[in-house]
Amino acid sequence: MAVFVAVVTATVGFNATAQAEGAASGDAAKGKRVYLADGCHLCHGRVRQGGAMNYSAPAITKLEMPVESFVAFLRVAPNDMPAYTANVLSDADAADIYAFLQSLPGRKPAKDFPLLNQ
């Protein structure tokens, strides 16, 4: 078994111009609680930095899709990611998660981190 099969570094995103107005309707603080309670962090990390199960679970630091697309994405979820149906995650909770994810800063310039330049 390989130590690493693949590292997917892309953020989840469809369109950079489609920053969701829906983020404003979600509650970021509640979204953080749901994100942790529903185990999103188990694969994607508490600060949504990404992780891995069978393959890489991408970082979701900057969602470049509208909230409606985000909710639809969760309902069908690709590859190894389980689909989150409305039975276990309401549209409102999904919108809160979206707001939480949108509230977080993205990556920082690596040149500012001496430990990453050695």
Binding site: V3, M53, F113
Partner: protein, 373 residues
């Protein structure tokens, strides 16, 4: 085939079995100026070599010739699959690609499906030891390369080198995510560890599941700097196996270190007593996510798949209530212990103290409370 290919790709896994293996693969790759994807079953190829494309596996889609050397499970390397109710897979290579295997697996086939996984259709299967075959292969490749090929090879190499640089920069950028977070990100943990050992004669002999940060961020360029993995993904392997490697390293005076999961540690913690008793120096960095985390994720996936929520998926999969104090456990076995380290700012100093202890000839354990992966 290799010389005439436009985009040849070498995939290797358990190739290098002696210190000569890495140098031979480097010579072949540089002669061809071709991409190498290292599955890291052994220390096959320098991590920062411009032709190392291990974190650009999309390049397999462009390959017209794929040569797999001592690859443990080739089908898995070439066919990503989705582990869902209806499993699906898709080849990650072109249908026109020629696939060649060179390795010893064909020589010891048994009737055990677990031994082989799924069969990959190949165009040419060469049974034999890949490392031993490399000098002949290199010689033949050099003989067939004429001047008309050299310019194309050089251009190919330059493209790969540029892509490699971009991949390294991407890795650094990815590592900044959650840099100051607590629990500590695995990227921060690995960067902090490298900061403490990079100027030593180090040897990394163990790792946790899917921990790719060392190979993304560190400079591995010596045959003994990576020990490979079990090949079977068995939990409980890492701590005792790492100690065995540390014993082998002891006479060379190398700084041996290993990452290990807390779940793995729970299987054979008495290994630490053996380390203390025999004075085997080893820095053991415990990636403590307070779970048998791979299993935890599987249960979560299964529960979500059936639409029943994940409220019960921590039963039997997490290691909390109470949390284990691994540094105290280590001290109980006579091993120097640091932790639990929760604040990333405390990690560098703790590692520094532990490295100093290891350099006196003693084992040391640092318990790092991390985010899951």
């Amino acid at each position: 085939m290799l010389v005439n290919a436009e985009t040849p790709v070498i995939i290797c896994d358990r190739l290098a079995r002696t210190p000569a293996g890495m140098a031979r693969l480097v010579e072949l790759a540089e002669t061809l100026q071709c991409a190498v994807i290292d599955n890291a079953g052994r220390m096959n190829f320098p991590s920062r070599h411009p032709l190392n494309q291990s974190f650009r596996r999309g390049i397999i889609r462009q390959a017209d010739v794929i040569v797999a050397m001592e690859v443990n499970e080739l089908w898995g390397s070439l066919n990503p699959f989705s582990d869902r109710i209806v499993r699906s897979s898709r080849p990650s290579y072109k249908s026109s690609a020629r696939i060649v295997t060179l390795g010893s697996r064909d020589l010891y086939m048994k009737s055990n499906y677990q031994d082989f996984g799924r069969y990959q259709e190949v165009d040419l299967a060469i049974g034999g030891d890949a490392e031993a075959s490399l000098p002949t292969l290199i010689e033949q490749v050099k003989r067939l390369i004429d001047d008309s090929k050299k310019a194309a090879f050089e251009a190919r190499g330059k493209k790969l080198a540029a892509a490699k640089l971009a991949a390294v920069e991407q890795a650094k950028s990815d590592a900044t995510n959650g840099w100051d977070a607590s629990p500590i990100t695995t990227a921060r943990m690995c960067a902090e560890v490298y900061g403490q050992i990079k100027d030593e004669d180090w040897s990394l002999v163990g790792t946790t599941i899917r921990l790719a940060w060392p190979h993304r961020l560190w400079n591995f360029d010596k045959p003994y700097q990576w020990n490979g993995v079990s090949g079977g993904a068995g939990v409980g392997y890492n701590l005792p196996a790492s100690l065995g490697a540390a014993l082998a390293n002891k006479k060379h005076g190398r700084l041996t270190l290993a990452f290990g999961g807390d779940g793995d540690f729970m299987f054979a913690p008495g290994t630490l007593w053996t380390a203390a008793h025999h004075r085997i120096p080893m820095l053991y960095i415990l990636q403590n996510n307070r779970a048998y985390h791979q299993e935890y994720m599987y249960l979560q996936a299964m529960a979500a798949r059936h639409g029943r929520g994940i409220a019960n998926t921590d039963i039997g999969t997490t290691i909390k209530d109470p949390n284990v104090d691994y540094a105290t456990v280590a001290r109980g076995f006579g091993v120097y212990g640091e932790g639990p380290i929760v604040d990333p700012k405390d990690l560098g100093p703790a590692l520094k103290r532990a490295v100093a202890m290891v350099k006196t000839g003693q084992p040391a354990l640092v318990d790092v409370v991390t985010d899951p992966r």
